[in-house]
Point group: C2
Chain length 380, copies 2
C-alpha cells in the first residue's frame, strides 16, 4: 500500500546518538529510552520511534529531492511496563512526507494508513482527527503561553482514561488554579473545527472516507513535536489502544538542519494490529506451512530426498523426514503434530503412496502412483 | 525458499540477558557484543547472532515438536571496525534444525542455503566443507587436548589471510613449541575427508550440487560452539568475504536445557549478498517505484487526487503532486528526478493528457484521453 502511494523504503540503524534521540520527545518519552555507552564510550541509545531517525537523515542528506516520501518498517524500543498491546520491542510501520506544508500531504497520510487497515480486512475503525491549533481557542481569562497550552492539551488527552475530575486534578497539579482548570474544562467542551479540519473533512468525503472519521477536540497525542493536524485510529471492539496515529510536525526537522522543513507522518503499530486481527479472527486459516511430508524409510533415503526436491521445484512446500531409522508411525505422527496435511511414502519402481485425512478424520490413501500423478493430486 | 523446505518463521527480541549471550561464543565474539544495563539494572545486550537466541528459546520451550525447523531473518549487532562487507548492524537469514543428529539435516541446510543463492541468480559459488572432527587427525607427537585442538584450528582458519608463516607464529604465541607448530602445519596438508564428509558429498552429488562444493580441510569457522560439519560459501569475483556459512553444534543447546540436543544450522549474510549482487549486476533494473505522477494544477486538485486513487485501485503505483500552487515545470521536474516514467495532467471533461519520454529521450504525449484509455496505456 505504501508503495502504491509513492512512498519508498528507508531503513536506519537501531542505534542513534543520545543527543539525536532526546530533547525532542518530551520527558516522559526520554525516561523510556534504552540509553547506554558503546565500546567507543559514545552515548547512544536504541531508537524510540521512526520519526526522529527520519529527521536526522533529512539533516544528514539535505539534498534529497523534496517532497521526500519514505516508508519505514522497523522495530522500536521502549522500557514500558509490558501489558496487552504494549511491548518493550515492537514493529512500527511509518510513512512520512517531508518538505511540504500542503494539506494534501496530511490527507494522503491518513488515507494511506486507512487503506492499510482496509486491506487487513478491518471494517469498523474510526479516524479521530484534531489540530494542535484548535487548542488555542482555549481562553482562561488571559493569554495562554505555548508552555501552558502544552500542559493543557496533555491533560485533556487523558480525559477518556481519567474523566473530567481527573483532568481537573491534573491541571491543578500542573500549576493552574481551580478556577482556571474549571474554565479550561468548560472551554474544551466548545472547541470548534478550524479551517484546516474543515478542508480535510471535505476531501476525505470526496475520497470515500465519509463516516470513517470524527472530529475529536480533546485528542492531543503524547509527543511534543506535533504542530498541526493530529490523528489516531481506533478499531471498534479492540480496547488495548489505538492501532495507528500521526500528525504534522513542522518544527522537528529544523532542529537537525537549521532550516525549517515542514513534515507530516503516520504510523501503524504492527503488533497491536496482529493482536486486534487475532481478536477479530481476521487471519486466514491456512497460513503457510508444508503441504506434504515425505517419509524417510530404510533403503529409500535418497529417493525421499529426491522426490522432495522435485516437489519443491514444482512449488509444493515439502518436508522430508530426516531420520530413516525412526519408525514409520512416529514419522506419521510428526506430520500430524505439525499440521502437514499430506504424507508421501516412496515405494519400489519409482511409485509413491499418498495419504491424508478426509473431512471426517478418516485416513485415505492412493497407492503406487507415479510422480506425475502425485503432483496432480497435491495440486488439486 | 526456507518455507519450501519446511522451515517456519521465528522472531526473538533484540535484547537478551548478558548471561545468555556470553560464554558460548568465545572471547573474540564477546569483545564485540553491545552489553549494558537496562532500566531495571539487569545486564542485557543486543543479540550477536541468531543461533544463541534459538538455543535459549529451545531451553524455554522444551516441548516444541522435534525436529524443530525454524528460519529467522533479523538484525544482529557487532562492535566491529566497519569496512566493506563488514557492518555493526546487519541482517542475518538463518535456518536451523534442532533435535536430530542425522546427516540429512546437515545436507538439507546446505542445499537450502545454496538454493537461495541460485534464486538470487548467483552462478559461480563454491561451498567449502569441513568437519571439526577432521582436526583430530592432527598428531603432534602425543595426545592433543580439546583445548589445544581449538587453538590449532583457530590458527589454521587464518591460513588464507596470514599464510603458513603467520599461522606458525600464531601457534607459537598460543603456547606450542616451534617443532610442534611445524608438525601441525605439515599434518594440516594431509588432512583427509572423514566418513561424514564422504557421505555428505555423495548425497550432494545425487541432489544436483556436484562441482559446487570442495573439501576445505583448514576451514574452521570462528565460533567455539561447532562440533561437526562446518561450511562456508564463497562467491567467485566477490572478495569481501563468505556470504553464507554454518555447521553442526550438538553441545550448545544443552547449555540451556540440561539435556543434550543436537542441532545444525546455516546463515546467509544479507548485506554482503546485496553488496555482491550490486557488484555482479544481479539486480533487475526496474526496482519498485511509482509508475505515474499526477500533476496537481489549480482547479483540478480534487480531480488529481481522485484519478490517482482510481489508478491505485487498478494496481498502478501512482503519486500525486501535493502542492497545486507549484508551477507545472517544477512538477514535471519532480517526476524526472524521481525516475517516475509517466506524467498525467487532468483536463476538462474528465479527460487526461499522458506524457512520457521515449527511447531517444524525446517527450511523447497523448492528449484528451478517457480514464479507461489512460489505464490501457499505463498497463501496456
Amino acid at each position: 500500500v505504501f508503495e502504491k502511494y509513492g512512498f519508498s523504503e528507508l531503513q536506519t540503524p537501531a542505534l542513534e546518538y543520545k543527543e539525536v534521540l532526546t530533547g525532542k520527545m518530551g520527558e516522559e518519552a526520554e525516561r523510556l529510552m534504552y540509553l547506554f555507552k558503546d565500546q567507543g564510550e559514545r552515548d547512544v541509545g536504541l531508537r524510540y520511534d521512526l520519526t526522529v531517525p527520519l529527521a536526522r537523515v533529512m539533516g544528514n542528506y539535505p539534498n534529497l529531492t523534496k517532497p521526500f516520501k519514505r516508508y519505514q518498517i522497523q522495530n522500536v524500543w521502549r522500557a514500558e511496563n509490558p501489558q496487552r498491546g504494549r511491548f518493550r520491542e515492537f514493529l512500527q510501520c511509518d510513512i512520512d512526507t517531508v518538505g511540504t506544508a500542503n494539506i494534501n500531504a496530511d490527507l494522503e497520510i491518513i488515507i494511506c494508513v486507512a487503506k492499510c487497515l482496509e486491506i487487513l480486512r478491518f471494517r469498523d475503525f474510526k479516524i479521530l482527527i484534531n489540530d494542535r491549533n484548535v487548542f488555542t481557542q482555549i481562553d482562561i481569562g488571559g493569554t495562554v503561553s505555548q508552555d501552558e497550552l502544552q500542559k493543557v492539551y496533555r491533560s485533556l488527552d487523558k480525559i477518556k482514561k481519567i474523566g473530567e475530575e481527573g483532568v481537573k486534578e491534573n491541571l491543578i497539579e500542573s500549576g493552574f488554579s481551580a478556577d482556571q482548570s474549571e474554565a479550561i474544562l468548560k472551554n474544551a467542551n466548545f472547541l470548534k473545527e478550524n479551517n484546516n479540519i474543515v478542508l480535510l473533512k471535505k476531501r476525505l468525503d470526496k475520497l470515500g472516507l465519509k463516516d470513517k472519521y470524527v472530529f475529536a477536540p480533546t485528542l492531543a497525542r503524547g509527543l511534543d513535536y506535533y504542530t498541526g493536524l493530529i490523528f489516531e485510529i481506533e478499531i471498534e471492539g479492540y480496547s488495548a489502544g489505538s492501532v495507528a496515529g500521526g500528525g504534522r510536525y513542522d518544527e522537528l526537522i529544523g532542529m537537525f538542519t537549521d532550516k525549517k522543513i515542514p513534515a507530516v507522518g503516520g504510523s501503524l503499530g504492527f503488533d497491536r494490529l496482529i493482536d486486534a486481527m487475532n481478536q477479530l479472527n481476521l487471519f486466514p486459516k491456512d497460513l503457510i506451512t508444508s503441504k506434504a511430508l515425505v517419509l524417510n524409510l530404510p533403503n529409500f533415503e535418497e529417493k525421499a530426498l529426491e522426490v522432495a526436491d522435485k516437489l519443491r521445484e514444482n512449488n509444493i512446500n515439502t518436508e522430508v523426514y530426516l531420520d530413516s531409522n525412526v519408525e514409520k508411525g512416529k514419522q506419521f505422527n510428526y506430520a500430524e503434530k505439525k499440521g502437514i496435511p499430506y504424507t508421501i511414502v516412496p515405494n519400489e519402481n519409482e511409485t509413491f503412496t499418498l495419504g491424508w485425512k478426509n473431512e471426517n478424520g478418516e485416513i485415505e490413501k492412493v497407492e503406487n502412483i507415479t510422480f506425475d500423478n502425485l503432483l496432480e493430486h497435491l495440486r488439486s
